[in-house]
């Protein structure tokens, strides 16, 4: 296999696995920037994966090629609806954020598999979707020698969309008024309140954005990788996204970068077999390496992780 083919494989596999993590990690960033700890990302992804799969199976025949893309939006919508549970519990009813997040992680698989059994005659998994997200070759860009083949041939379009969304999210959080306010209620809600910022409103915004993004992340997983829904469709990706968010220091660009790194990590065991030198090694090392490297990188280069100052604290007016 030529170098460019190997690189193309590495790059596209990385992006395919990174896309769900990017969306979900961005979601986590919005939520935690507004001061609501979100360990429920896994649950939000599950709901997104389930809703998108059901939508795809139901409307795939009518909508044709557009189905997977519309399914992402449906996944996002249901993720958003599901996240209201977390928002209401933590913001309005002063619940402990970790308890509430854990509830999402417990509730989502239970509810979605329950409904799967009801919709699909008692089976714990849905049929495989017909309209899935395939690979994409950028017209024009793919013609560039070498780079065109590595970066723009048979790659994951949704991952490119995810990276763009990551940049937009950064702009939103750091260059717009709404973004500034959202961050301010996560740093010092009392001060924000004094300035007339509605703390609850911006925190709801943060959590609902997390729900939508997490839902999309889960939907991407179902539409491009697993191609159906079962209890094991989302197995730890939400926690990986949580780690990516912290690794990226609660910054959308950092989170995007970290998610791509984890994507590379997840694709390593798959692509390891294609690379001549690495093919000799036991695949277990490719499976372990990314996680071990993450810890080492974190210890050596990043040091103390500093969360938004009021992350995890309930804001009670007048106290």
């Amino acid at each position: 296999m030529s170098l460019s083919t190997i690189l193309m494989t590495v790059f596209s596999t990385t992006l395919i696995y990174a896309a769900p993590l990017i969306f979900t990690a961005l979601g986590g960033t919005f939520s935690e920037r507004s001061g609501i700890v979100n360990v429920g990302l896994e649950g939000m992804m599950i709901v997104g994966a389930f809703a998108s799969t059901v939508f795809n199976l139901t409307f795939g025949i009518v909508l044709g090629n557009a189905t997977p893309w519309l399914s992402l939006l449906v996944g996002g919508l249901f993720g958003l609806i599901f996240s209201i549970l977390h928002a209401a519990a933590t913001i309005t009813y002063r619940a402990n954020h970790i308890i509430s997040g854990t509830v999402l992680n417990l509730m989502a698989p239970a509810l979605c598999v329950f409904l799967t059994r009801i919709f699909y005659s008692g089976k714990g998994q849905t049929p495989v979707i017909n309209q899935s997200m395939g690979t994409f070759t950028f017209p024009g860009l793919a013609e560039i020698p070498f780079i065109g083949k590595v970066l723009f041939t048979k790659t994951s379009l949704i991952a490119y969309v995810a990276v763009v969304v990551g940049c937009v999210s950064w702009f939103f959080l750091y260059r717009t008024n709404i973004g500034l306010r959202l961050r301010s209620v996560g740093e010092n809600p009392a001060a924000a309140d004094t300035l007339g910022i509605d703390v609850a409103k911006y925190r709801y915004l943060g959590v609902l954005l997390a729900g939508a993004f997490g839902g999309i992340g889960g939907a991407v997983m179902a539409q491009s990788i697993t191609l159906n829904f079962s209890a094991s469709t989302i197995s730890g990706q939400g926690f990986m996204a949580l780690a990516a968010m912290i690794f990226g220091k609660w910054n959308p660009l950092g989170a995007t970068g970290a998610a791509i790194f984890f994507g590379l990590a997840q694709s390593l065991p798959i692509i390891g077999g294609y690379i001549p030198v690495l093919a000799q090694m036991d695949p277990v090392w490719f499976q372990i390496a990314p996680y071990a490297i993450t810890i080492v990188v974190l210890v050596i280069f990043l040091g103390k992780a500093v969360a938004p100052a009021a992350d995890g604290q309930n804001y009670i007016k007048g106290k």
Binding site: T102, I246, V284
Partner: protein
């Protein structure tokens, strides 16, 4: 206060449990299932005879120990999501010891297996604690990463070192190394109930004593409440962080070791992290991280899980309804503020009435 702290501490979980069951019942009614029949099956399937009771009590063991592990780190202010990995390491350590030292005298074989399991779990969380204490590395990330390292490493070790060629499971441990004895099988109608249950209950009391009667336990709690103040008061914060995380993993590891020796008798390759680590978190949260409360929370969880199995046997209701009930219960525990506010309002009303009556006289 009119109602004592103890009643309040019990009232909220009780209200939450009832509310959780109501949510489950509503959902069953919506989809045309019979809630009363299902709840009856649930009760019979979990506590109805000695066999089910044995299964329920056995299923409590890993729940109690992983919950205790989560509670210990949580009291120190850390979020240890590493329960699944630590539990796996414990399970692995116990089986490896039992297989390799099968010739030791029975008591040494069993103690050695349990200890090496607990120790491996402890080492796993110690890494996260050490990095947190000396480098400020987020324990959330390190424990997640360590979970996956444990999963893949153990799968590799089973396939290459423990299992015979082509098999995905290790051989069974010697019968005398098992915690599930003939006597216990006889009295519980061949359930998987084992001596580990008593070890787990004893451990719960040891941890209760640790938190309430020892200096180290006090330091762990104080660091959790206010790290800066504890440092000022002379607590060695770094050491306390490491102790709390180490203890946390020892407990989860012990849970894995007991499950390995009492329930499974071997260890197999698995595709994903064991759920029990995450369920332990939920048990700890339901019990508000109180060691004694964990016993009762684990009993409830375990009964729901074991009883849930018979729901889908005797009707076509998906057994996931049980997990929905569990999640709802934890949700209501989480939003206890509503109940507290409602209780407080009631109390105010009663006070007003009393005062009004007093004024009339």
């Amino acid at each position: 206060m009119l109602y004592s702290r103890a009643t309040k501490a019990l009232a909220i979980p009780l209200i939450s449990i009832i509310a959780g069951f109501i949510i489950g019942a509503i959902l069953m009614l919506v989809f045309g299932y019979d809630p009363i029949q299902n709840y009856q099956n649930l009760l019979i399937g979990s506590l109805g005879d000695v066999y089910s009771l044995g299964e329920t009590l056995r299923n409590m063991i890993p729940l109690m120990l992983t919950a205790l592990g989560f509670a210990v780190s949580s009291k120190a202010g850390f979020f240890n999501i590493g329960g699944p990995g630590q539990y796996l390491m414990g399970w692995f350590g116990a089986i490896v010891f039992a297989l390799n030292f099968a010739n030791l005298p029975t008591w040494l074989l069993i103690t050695g297996s349990l200890l090496s399991g607990a120790l491996l779990g402890g080492i796993w969380s110690f890494i996260a604690g050490f990095l947190r204490a000396y480098f400020g590395t987020s324990e959330v990330i390190t424990t997640i990463m360590l979970n996956y390292i444990a999963l893949y490493f153990i799968n590799f070790a089973i396939k290459n070192w423990l299992a015979s060629k082509g098999s995905d499971s290790s051989p069974n441990i010697a019968r005398r190394a098992s915690l599930n004895t003939d006597f216990l099988q006889k009295i519980t109608n061949n359930s998987t109930f084992n001596w580990g249950f008593f070890i787990a209950i004893m451990t719960v009391f040891v941890i209760w004593v640790y938190f309430n009667k020892t200096r180290s336990g006090f330091e762990v709690r104080s660091v959790g409440l206010n790290e800066a103040a504890s440092r000022y008061a002379g607590v060695n914060v770094k050491r306390t962080i490491i102790i709390a995380m180490l203890l946390s993993g020892l407990l989860a590891g012990l849970g894995g070791a007991i499950d390995g020796m009492g329930n499974f008798q071997n260890i197999s390759v698995s595709n994903s992290l064991p759920n029990v680590g995450f369920n332990g978190m939920a048990v700890a949260l339901l019990a508000a991280e109180n060691p004694i409360g964990i016993i009762f929370a684990a009993l409830l969880f375990s009964a729901l899980q074991i009883g849930g199995l018979s729901i889908s046997v005797y009707s076509n209701t998906p057994s996931e309804i049980v997990d929905i009930v569990i999640a709802s219960i934890i949700f209501f525990v989480g939003i206890k503020y509503i109940f507290e506010a409602a209780l407080a309002k009631n109390w105010l009303k009663r006070m007003h009435k009393k005062m009004d009556r007093g004024a009339d006289k």
